[in-house]
Every structure is written in C-alpha cells, then in structure tokens.
Symmetry: C2
Subunit: 129 residues, 2 copies
DNA sequence: ATAAACCCTATAGTTACTATAGAATCAAGC
DNA sequence: GCTTGATTCTATAGTAACTATAGGGTTTAT
C-alpha cells in the first residue's frame, strides 16, 4: 500500500509517517518505479508500535531505544522496565503539578464574579500578588 | 537594577527576561549610557505577574491578553473569568489523560519482572499489541 | 591598564509535529 | 493520446516557550 492508505489504516497523518521515517523509527520502505513509498503489514506493525508508545507519552528518543532493544531479543529487559518506570514517575510528577494548578485556578475562579470591573477583578488581584 | 539583578530577584533567567520583552510581555526598560537595560520595582512587578501566570501554565498569548485587559480597568472582567475557566478545563482534561496513562503504565510495569529476556518481556509484548 | 564579570544582539537548537511550495506521478475518463 | 484531478515526492518553515551559543561591547576592581 501507499502512504495515503497507511495513513488511513493507522490513523497517523502522512507527514507524521514521513517524519517518523526520517527519525529512523520506521524502516525504510520499498519504493515504486515512480519513487512512491510502498508499505506492507509489517510496516503497519512498526507504525502501530510507535503510535502506542506515543499514546503513553514516551518520547521519540526512548521509542528509538525500545526499537533497538527489540533487535536483541535474548538480552535482559531490565532497561525496558526502567524506561517504563521513569515514564511512570514523570506522569506521577506531572499529576501532582496539575493538582496544585487546579486548586489555585479553582480558587481564583471562585474569587470573582464576572460582572466586576477589571479594577475589582478578584482574578487579576490574585495574579498580581 | 540591571538584568542580572532582576534575574536573581525574580528567579527568571536572563534570556527569559529578554525573551518576554521581545514578546511584549514586559514594557521596554530604560537603558544606560552603555545600552544596558535598567529596571525598577515596577519592572519586577510586571515580571512577577508573567511568572505567576506561567506557573499556572497560562500560555504567553493569553498572558498578553491579560496584560492588555489590565490597561482598561473600568471594563468588565468577564473575559478574564472566561480565560481562567478555559485554563481550568484544559488542566482537567490533561488530568484525565494522565490518569489513563498512569493506569496503562502501571499495568505494563507489573506485567514484567526485570530478569526476563526481551523476547519474554511483558512490557514489549503489551506495546506490540 | 588590564582582567574578570557583566551586558549586548542575533542566531540556532530543542520536541514532535503541522503546513506549506513547487514539482513529479498516477488513475480515470474522453 | 490527452487531460484532469488525486496522490505523492522533497525541502523548507512554522509552532511554543524557552535555552544555548557566538562574537562582540561595557563596567568594575585591582
């Protein structure tokens, strides 16, 4: 299949697919006579692997690392585990941050009714502190 | 004070201060004979306003908007309220996403002990799905 | 007078894409 | 055989909010 089809099947945009290829997250596809990329089922699997990782917010550099690791199936998977653990830590950290953001935003929102003048706006006031 | 001092007092890096100025989030400071930026207490307040907004993850474009609104103290503050509401919605949305990320990452982490071979790695297997 | 510390502008790099421009290729209909 | 529209190609620039660097000028202290 050509890139348009792969894009539809996978749900990734055409530009994203080409971008992943340039970043070596996908193996180089065969080309048609007219230089069009030709994909098969394996290409789709590669792309879906990347997509799944991205849905977990794993950065491309780490995905590249995971792909390399997959090339050595007999080695220990401890670094895979470490990578996921780190990702989990990041997510937890970000959740903590968001919780406190949420708190302050809620407090601000409740500190002002929208029919004030900006002069009297409770939100502007708290931002000015 | 010069930019180095402002940087220390505010906790923003020198480059960030210059960047905010270029983006019109800070008013243009006076300059010394040798063309050094000279700041006063009001500059510090401006910077702290921006910093406070940024700590709430409010994008620079919205901060610019808030600063403009502050210039018309007699107008209604309903758009300020709307802006904070939107920001709150974004934060809530992101929290929902992070929760499901966390869930899947935890599931993956628990699906593999680190002394497996990559071949047998539960994490790689779930990513391959 | 000179060296260290500070400041200046302008430019490039970061992440993970998205959006163009301008050209080539292919598929379908006449 | 030809044209038209859809698809593809590469290369480049833009996005957000900074950070980092190069290559200079200025100030302060000795």
């Amino acid at each position: 299949m050509k890139i348009g089809k792969l894009s539809k099947v996978s749900g990734c945009s055409i530009q994203t697919i080409r971008y992943y290829e340039k970043e070596n997250l996908l193996s180089n596809p065969n080309r048609s006579e007219g230089n069009f990329r030709l994909y098969d089922n394996n290409s789709l699997k590669e792309l879906e692997f990347v997509k799944h990782c991205r849905s977990l917010d794993i950065p491309l550099s780490d995905i590249k690392r995971l792909i390399e690791l997959k090339q050595s199936p007999e080695e220990s998977c401890s670094s895979v585990n470490a990578l996921i653990d780190d990702q989990l830590k990041l997510v937890n950290q970000r959740m903590i941050e968001l919780k406190s953001l949420k708190k302050e935003l809620q407090k601000m929102a409740s500190s002002c009714s929208s029919d004030n003048s900006i002069d009297q706006c409770g939100i502007i006031r708290s931002l000015d502190k």
